[in-house]
Symmetry: D2
């Protein structure tokens, strides 16, 4: 019963097969492998963006920090939600990679709104040498609370950014989960909605460790490559990244895997609706559930071996009926039986 | 006939098997996997260093830049050879990770000498606020010209560093190749010779992508972890790094693999000795050969599909007998038949 | 009628005299001048801190950024008020000098509270490699809204910091104005209240350009010196900084000057209390006043040549009675007649 | 008898008078003072560069590091002489301000040659993501050994840079001394010779502390301003910098002052030519002399109170006749009698 994160589960067998398959003979290193040519062609086609520039890295933080560093000057500020991964979970990587740019937290929680974004941008007066200069807008799709921006919501946000001449980056660590939740195309969820660059996560959706970074307009390619090398994120045996990504995209494995995860989360959610005291902190839209459960329920679950994130206090102290917030993430691989057992235990 | 680099060959089947093996069920992420506990225990044992702190990253540049950044302050200088990988092949990664430390090039070529090192250290007057401050000494074992420091040579260099209170880092991208060349123990080639920290490369010796960083004295652990995370080099699905390294060390695969590469290079060297005009630029000691061959010989080899590094001028222009420098790296996997064919072609 | 800032007025004649006086013959450069020895002795005495380490720089931002960079690691966060100068007016200098540390905004407005500070510190879980690590607490005395922390308030804040092992920095760009407002000693307002390091501003209080940075505990001296040099803030002709600071401290010029500024602000405040529609946004405690006045009043003042900061909208649009926020800073040199004329104009 | 540096002498009386003169009433801060408008106009006129962008800072290291950081990307290398101030005397400031650019040392000593420059540039292969990328060329005029590039020498160097598309920066800490040595115009020594940006030092030539940075082509203005503010080098009471620079340029004070220094150095040189054992290490062209004198001579001079830089060994040990290198810098203010006395003492 592991709901800790979608980076705790195994990779798909196809992904590992592809790596084994790629493990034949000699191949040019540092991204010059022929598989990477295929990856680029495939992503351009899937995103209906024939000029897009595509790069692979091995971690989500690398994708975010490298992409943002090509979009933000060191004297600028990135606009993001207070719960954005780049703010809460990357140990100052964005500040490091950008050479000291600031993060300005917009509004509350996990999701940007156009009004809050506009207020935040206006808060840094243009043309004033004393203040942090306006830089890119960064949003996470799926958000850190498991919610999904609709394409209209994205367009409304990017409209605000565009009005101020600011580029927009999408942290797509759970890109495919969002696509599945929305039922839209990659292009619709990105450049057609005004997004300038995005990461497309593989690691949290059944790969070993690979993320794509896509710039929809050309021009940043050489700078990104230099930044990637300088940050030690250019793999010599790059073919194993390419092989993962190619297989991930082939036959829509990425969407099938995300669908599996989302469907499992829906099952878990449905089950939890019948649990006494269960109080959902955010609408479930993809593969993450945030729900408050009584302390006693948590104690029972933990005692039975369930693994998941627990917030708002130590489990050991406090009244049994007092609620604590749980984060439950469904990996593509979690068995339905595990979910059902978890729900049963929660029901008490 | 690929002699371009030992990062162009495939990984050992055992390595990929281990990754497939590790791909079962759920595992704690970010280095908390049980395999990593084994990796640490194994490396401590093999290095006879029960307190050593051990970390895994996926690229050699990450290992170097992260290790050096824990050893050098931003206002210091790292002492290294002019041909050191950190100087010539990392696109300013050491400067980036250290926050602006300088590299001071010591002497000539690929290999440090105690005299040149002492002169370089003395060149930066201690206690002068205007100058770059003395920082760590970095050396590469095997060097970039394929040469190997003996344990005595290492001790002589670290004595100089020690006399000035400076720590010593060993870039061990080809650590096992050096071990095999010297026939010594890991401890003898590192801390017993005065080395404070080292990387132990896996990628260039038959892994998919993994390098260990070892600090022989405890104390830097938490700082290293923070630096690794901040640089986006902490893998969520860390078990695949652990699995590689564990298998790499088990049954002495690392030494067997290095031995294979060195032996192949010896065969190639022996063959080339009979080639007219072959002029060796450095003594072969591990798996790399630097040899000058006439331009016409190179043209013949290239025409036959041989792949390797070529320096000192364009192949297309110049007299047929004029020599050009070749770098020939033997991967563990290169077939003896390929070597023999290469030599035959070179003979003309 | 210039109330724009206390950096728009002239320096005291004594300060310039001291510079002229210092302009004789040869003197050791880079801080080795004998005047600097006197400055250190004088500040140690005045702060009752015989081991304090003292440095001079020429700008307030340099004092803040350099001091904080010796207190915060790049992977840490500085805790400060949302209106802190380091957040709003330094164009990412703290992020630059620290190598990418983050600023965490505590509570609302200009002034920290112990509760908000504790909540903010707790917000970054200790021992979690993914998050920004807890770093120094920075507060501004006088705050950016012209308010002054009492010594008790300071002690309550530093108690919180201490409980978490975090150092405390005081941005004292208007240090003397605060001293005068509180009527306490420099020691009481700093290390006796738990402050670890402080800047003591001269520039905004009648100097040409000089700020002292004081560490109350020894140990950071050499690091600070290296950071100062590396940031190009070590003056070769340092004697002119020393001369300013020495004269500034002698005969309590610093306190007399601050008193003059505070008294003038009190006079301005008293006058404004009789202005129709005047609405004070913060209690005046030192030499700054934040007051809302009707747009028509502002238009009259501006037309008459008054210079001051105006916020919350363009002056040109909107109803005449609609209020806009003004920031009125009294320099030590502002003439009482100017104040009275301003008040008269405001009265209409 | 102080020949330690031209930053140990006093400022011209006119410079301090100008500061006193500027110390009247209120003035806009942060560079918006009217004096700065005059400075810009004056420099544009003197450099025959009506579009030049002009900025003031207070230290030479700030001028160099800020200028270079607008010309070099973090993944690039700056090309400079091994004895360049930016390499030997700025405690990694260029590396800090550029975010980690490297310095590549060109040839030997203090002065670049076209051949060595071309070789160095060629050394970093274009288009290779692994290596430091080619960046600006930096040269010092007067060099650190007191020598002066002729305009033809400058043109030959900038031709090399131009052939590779690289910009050229001139560290003009002793700009006026070079002008006087060459007897040419500011334009001839800079943009007409292919220089893209230069600093014009005031501090070492009779100012309190001011340096101009000039970009001959517009376009970098806003970036420079942001970098200056972010580095804490934007002065609030900027008028005192402007006043210095304006007076420095007016009535050719800068050239008169430099002439005085150069003439004094010529007198010193002439005198030293008659000193037994005097061996000049570099041709004197401006206000610096590098000469070897017997140890006994140094001991006599030092005993008599002479102050100057001494290299190549401790004064206390060694044979009396053994020579040690002295650096003798003539400030504009050094009295002829002091020079004569020094020579007399040296003669023994």
């Amino acid at each position: 019963m592991n709901f800790a994160s979608d980076n705790c589960g195994p990779a798909h067998g196809e992904i590992l097969n592809a790596m084994v398959e790629a493990n034949r003979g000699f191949a040019p290193s540092y991204g010059a492998d022929t598989l990477m040519t295929e990856v680029q062609a495939r992503l351009r086609e899937m995103f209906e963006a024939p000029e897009a520039e595509v790069f692979l890295v091995a971690t989500g933080t690398a994708a975010n920090a490298l992409a943002l560093s090509t979009m933000a000057q060191p004297w600028q500020t990135v606009f993001c939600a207070p719960l954005a991964h780049i703010q809460t979970d990357e140990c100052n990587a964005p500040e490091f990679f950008t050479g000291g740019a600031k993060l300005t937290l917009v509004g509350e929680g996990d999701k940007l709104t156009p009004a809050a974004l506009e207020a935040a941008i206006r808060g840094w007066t243009a043309g004033d040498v004393h203040v942090s200069q306006r830089g890119p807008v960064a949003l996470t799709q799926v958000t850190e609370m498991g919610r999904v921006y609709t394409c209209d919501e994205l367009a409304a946000l990017t409209d605000v950014a565009r009005a101020y001449g600011l580029p927009v980056y999408m942290d797509g660590a759970r890109f495919a989960n969002a696509l599945e939740a929305l039922g839209c195309s990659p292009a619709e969820m990105t450049w057609k909605a005004g997004v300038d660059a995005a990461s497309v996560g593989g690691t949290k959706n059944g790969c070993v460790g690979v993320e794509a970074v896509i710039f929809f307009q050309p021009g940043k390619s050489w700078e990104f490559e230099l930044r990637r090398k300088r940050a030690a994120h250019l793999f010599s045996k790059h073919r194993y990244l390419s092989a993962q990504m190619l297989t991930y995209l082939e036959g829509d494995l990425w969407r099938r895997s995300a669908r599996a995860a989302n469907v499992r989360a829906a099952r878990l959610e449905a089950g939890l609706r019948s649990v006494p005291g269960a109080d959902f902190a955010a609408e479930r839209q993809a593969n993450m559930i945030f729900v408050r459960l009584p302390r006693a329920t948590h104690q029972r679950l933990r005692a039975a071996g369930a693994v998941y994130g627990l917030y708002e206090g130590p489990l050991e102290e406090g009244a049994p009926e007092e609620p604590l917030l749980a984060r439950l993430v469904c990996d593509w691989s979690i068995a339905e039986a595990e979910i059902d057992r978890f729900v049963e235990l929660a029901r008490g």
